[in-house]
Symmetry: C2
Subunit: 224 residues, 2 copies
DNA sequence: TGTTAATATTGAACACGTTCAGAAATATCT
DNA sequence: AGATATTTCTGAACGTGTTCAATATTAACA
């Protein structure tokens, strides 16, 4: 399947099917929208659809890829405007929130197999490693112009990514208008974060940092 | 349904059905085990089973309840042995790991609807609030004998619970023998935690603590 | 061009979780 | 005991995601 170049006929229809599917998911809800509906909307038989996507859930994986690409693009656009660390972190997270705002249900669906490590669609599993690492790398980039001890450079991207995950979870459950509470929490968390970073950078905290980085290294959560 | 006393006939069979279901889930896997198999193992018709549990997933909710009760009981048993904060936190988390060790798949299933805030089985939703608060309260108890500033007393139980969640997630994905890596990570994290608690307690950190507790309060994550 | 290989599509079937009108069994009341 | 209400159970059906052998369509090659 799709052995020849990237601008394949097959890949084009697959991209089209992704659009149609996402539109239906947003209109009718992920559960409510049936595969038969999707196939009908795409003017093909039910079985034909399965030639492109192995399962209903697997469509969400491409959505995830789309979100990550969009995130990287939109952040790059405005990267120059962000003068300091605080601004860059704000740009990163607020942009992500904006992208996900109208698709929170889909984002939630993405978490469905987080508890199943071996499932091909596990959010923390192997199949999503690439996207995850791109996302973590964006935080690495945000830190790159700071003068920080090596251990912090290794630890912080993961920690910031984890914080973003926490905020996204809060975002998902946020019933306030336009998720205003999440916006506020994000800004508060980031203010605190940059303050804590400049404190943690002090030489007094070197032993603590060493313990932490040793621990995370041994756990395989960061690399040497 | 079940209008009379607690020692009802119906509740007894429901408890039996829970046992049978969990046994089958562990033996054959949650997905693989079918409702028809479960009903057959319980010597009743498929439809009859649905008189007791509204869905396959909902069985897991009772499992969650069972885990929490077992956790509270086992921790209470050995509470006296734990002399200081470090020991109490270790007892809490290691006991939980022990309880879940042979049912990691079931535990993962419990996370299935974490991304669906309004789903009746959402792990962070309303229907599980009671269990969740019991779990957080155990950390409050572990801290009760410490002399800590008020704000830390309010913040720490939530933070420790969140850390436990993180460790459980790591545990779920841990492929090392007997999940030894999780054990190690847990001990390292707890050592660091108690160190950080005694640092954060110092008056110099009062402003930071105030920001944090104000933020969490406004976010509705802790109570005034 | 004619033949072969790769790609794309079909439609019917399957297994699964779930629903439900109704029947049976059991408890409650007069 | 008989009548009535409540609890428990049945079996057949439904809609869903998914599979697959068979077929049509398109590309590659001689």
């Amino acid at each position: 399947m799709f052995k020849s170049g990237a601008t394949n006929k097959g890949q084009a229809t697959k991209a089209q099917l992704l659009e149609i599917s996402l539109r239906l998911f947003r209109q009718r809800g992920f559960e409510t929208a049936t595969m038969r509906e999707i196939a009908a909307a795409a003017d093909m038989s039910l079985g034909a659809f399965y030639y492109y996507y192995p399962s209903k859930d697997s469509i969400i994986l491409d959505y995830y890829r789309q979100v990550q690409d969009q995130h990287a693009a939109r952040v790059a656009e405005r990267w120059a405007e962000a003068a300091d660390l605080r601004a860059r972190l704000g740009l990163l997270i607020h942009t992500k929130l904006d992208i996900l705002r109208d698709s929170r249900e889909l984002m939630g669906t993405l978490l469905r197999y987080t508890g199943s490590p071996d499932h091909p669609l596990s959010f923390l599993g192997e199949s999503t490693r690439g996207i995850r690492e791109e996302s973590i790398s964006m935080f690495r980039d945000a830190l790159s112009s700071e003068r920080l001890p090596d251990d912090m450079i290794r630890i912080l991207p993961l920690l910031l990514w984890a914080m973003q995950m926490g905020l996204l979870l809060y975002f998902l459950y946020d019933k306030s208008k336009a998720q205003a509470r999440t916006t506020k929490l994000t800004d508060g968390a980031l203010d605190l974060t940059v303050r804590m970073i400049s404190v943690a950078r002090l030489p007094i905290f070197r032993p603590v940092r060493k313990s932490l980085s040793g621990m995370l290294l041994e756990a395989g959560l960061i690399e040497g």
